[in-house]
Subunit: 210 residues, 4 copies
DNA sequence: AATGAATGAGGCTTCATTCAT
DNA sequence: TATGAATGAAGCCTCATTCAT
């Protein structure tokens, strides 16, 4: 066919590529497999992406975008630190279970030593969430709704660390198994984790209900 | 006969291989680069390691061994949860700064979707620390030195998550930069992180001095 | 798309491969040489054949097929043992002179100690000709047109032995030279061999014209 | 040790090398295996043989020598054509069963398209036996003890062909199986083959007892 | 003179990329 | 413009050969 690729097909390419990349790693993933899975030819992928690396980066960017879209929902104006925390925890669980490949892509970025254009982008996003969380803590501290001896940035860092590990624990095979080792595999486990994590954070942050 | 490789040369191979593997990932790393960096021929590497995979495993085993040796020091008998926590935090900082490639090796296997014999080994180690930390919490709970509403396994999980992220934050380029975004880059930053994390953990765990 | 290899090119590959394999043996033959000789790239050979072994098998199958096609012509129904013998002798001479590489392929598998799937196939063919020749002798014996004290299978074996050596004598360098030592190199040699061999066989088999 | 290799060790090398070469083929045979099997070092083999090829040639020459030594015994002065034939047939059976590796080496020579120094040697031997057998036939023809319409050289060729195939049939795996297909595998098979072959030859040569 | 570990050229194979259709 | 077969560079691995001891 000589028909231009539809938006749907382009999405399909990125989705299948994300699956292939996150399942086999960027090296073992092959363009031919991605093309086959997407129902397009190898050649056309090269019309849209300069090379395999560029396709990988496009997948990363897309996954990151989907993730941040989700996060933005959770951090609406006016919510208390506790509310935000719970929302973020639940989103982490949900998104990572629903879209494990996308989280694995995010995990993949963190391997990238060279820091290509995507890491650039990832860092911007990281800066945004750092700002966001830090502000939450600053505001809460100013309001007196958390303990006064915390450094907002550092606590934001701890909080984000816990969230990242939660993401990985629900999407990357290795972390998934580690989660089972620590927390078991029963039905209610995930809810218990939410509750325990909230306990931990509330106490750790020194949150006091107004 | 031609002189056998000295122990030093063998160490050199593992060290350079660890660097190559952790910098480029197991796929992009090439035996020829490792050989060149180690000052030996390609062939001799195959005298000592069956194939690239075996060399990678040897590097991993070595890195994880070095790491666990360090951790064991921190978790001597009789230490309180608080003491253990502080020791582990300081070791994480120290080891990751000193041997970043080794931590990156660990990070690398967490990417491995298939979970070969390598992750097998890693999982054993994970099981050990899970047991160790969980016991600490169980004991502390029994003693009444932490809050009573915690689940030891789940809190051990949170604790280990924070430690892992600390390791990565001092060794992987991406996490290193993220750390700067959250916590700045001043001289005292690392000490502040220790102090703040201890604050966070003590409160979060509900540690009460006897 | 880039034009698919023509049938001609595919034949070319098998023909050149057969030459390379039969000249150097399956081990010393290299895919690169075959590709170069066939005017194609190395990679494309792997599109059509899984590996060097598969290519070798394809060459063998083709060579043995060509050979058996020839043999089948010679052993039509109703021909007397003498007629069959003469036809097979002439075909041996003709085919081996015309397609020496194909006979050398056959020779090559007889060296294969391990007897992989290739010899498997060869054995089937061997079984066919064993059956065929043995039947000829059985029938002739029953008709009384050969001596009565022969064992059909054993005489079929001798006959096939003579034919095989004839094939080799016209295609393998070593046997070719040996042939010259025994029988000279004059113009009429090959015809003399036919006639002498027929004399030998007729008397040896005790063939009596009805 | 710094002791020169004993004659025994040198023999050992050739014997083991012959086994390795004939079992795996000249390519897959490795010098290291041969050294190990012979109980000597790799290096010392290179003191005695310039390279692997030279060792292979030495094995060939030796095997050929052992074979011809055997044949010479069978063709003593004064024996009749029939006596010589039976002796050669029985020797072929015996030697090939006893020393299959050596016959396989002989078989290997016939693959050698390039015609190195061994083929040279082999051809000389071939010339000797050609001469020998041809003379037998010439003498018998002159004596009137065989039919008069034979060409001695050509019949000598047929005879040698049958002997060679007999050798191979008792030593090379492929030919061994082919033998079973044609002649079965019972206890008396080998003796039957001798008797049938003698029948065939006597009739084919037109031997008349004086 | 023998040893046997180290060397490194060379072959197989894969797959990112190209390009004729 | 899309196709997908062909290309060929590059990596893994083996093993003949070398050479320091």
């Amino acid at each position: 066919m000589l028909k231009k690729l539809t938006q749907e097909q382009l999405d399909q390419i990125l989705e299948r590529a994300t699956e292939e990349f996150s399942a086999k790693g960027p090296e073992r993933a092959t363009i031919m497999n991605i093309a086959r899975a997407s129902g397009v030819s190898v050649g056309v992928i090269y019309k849209y992406y300069a090379d395999k690396e560029a396709l990988f980066q496009a997948c990363l960017t897309r996954s990151l975008g989907m993730l941040t879209d989700c996060l933005e929902e959770a951090t609406k104006e006016g919510a208390s630190l506790e509310e935000v925390a719970e929302a973020l925890i639940r989103i982490a669980q949900f998104f990572a279970k629903e879209h494990p490949a996308h989280i694995r892509m995010y995990h993949a970025i963190t391997m990238d030593a060279e820091g290509g254009s995507v890491s650039e982008y990832a860092r911007k996003i990281e800066a945004v969430s750092a700002q966001l969380y830090t502000n939450c803590f600053s505001k809460a501290k100013a309001e007196g709704s958390v303990r006064q001896d915390i450094e907002p940035g550092v606590f934001a860092f701890f909080f984000d660390n816990l969230l990242m590990m939660l993401h990985f624990s629900y999407s990357c095979e290795y972390y998934r198994e580690r989660l089972s080792i620590f927390c078991g595999e029963d039905e209610e486990r995930d809810e218990r984790i939410v509750q325990q994590l909230l306990l931990f954070l509330k106490a750790g942050f020194g949150i006091t209900k107004a």
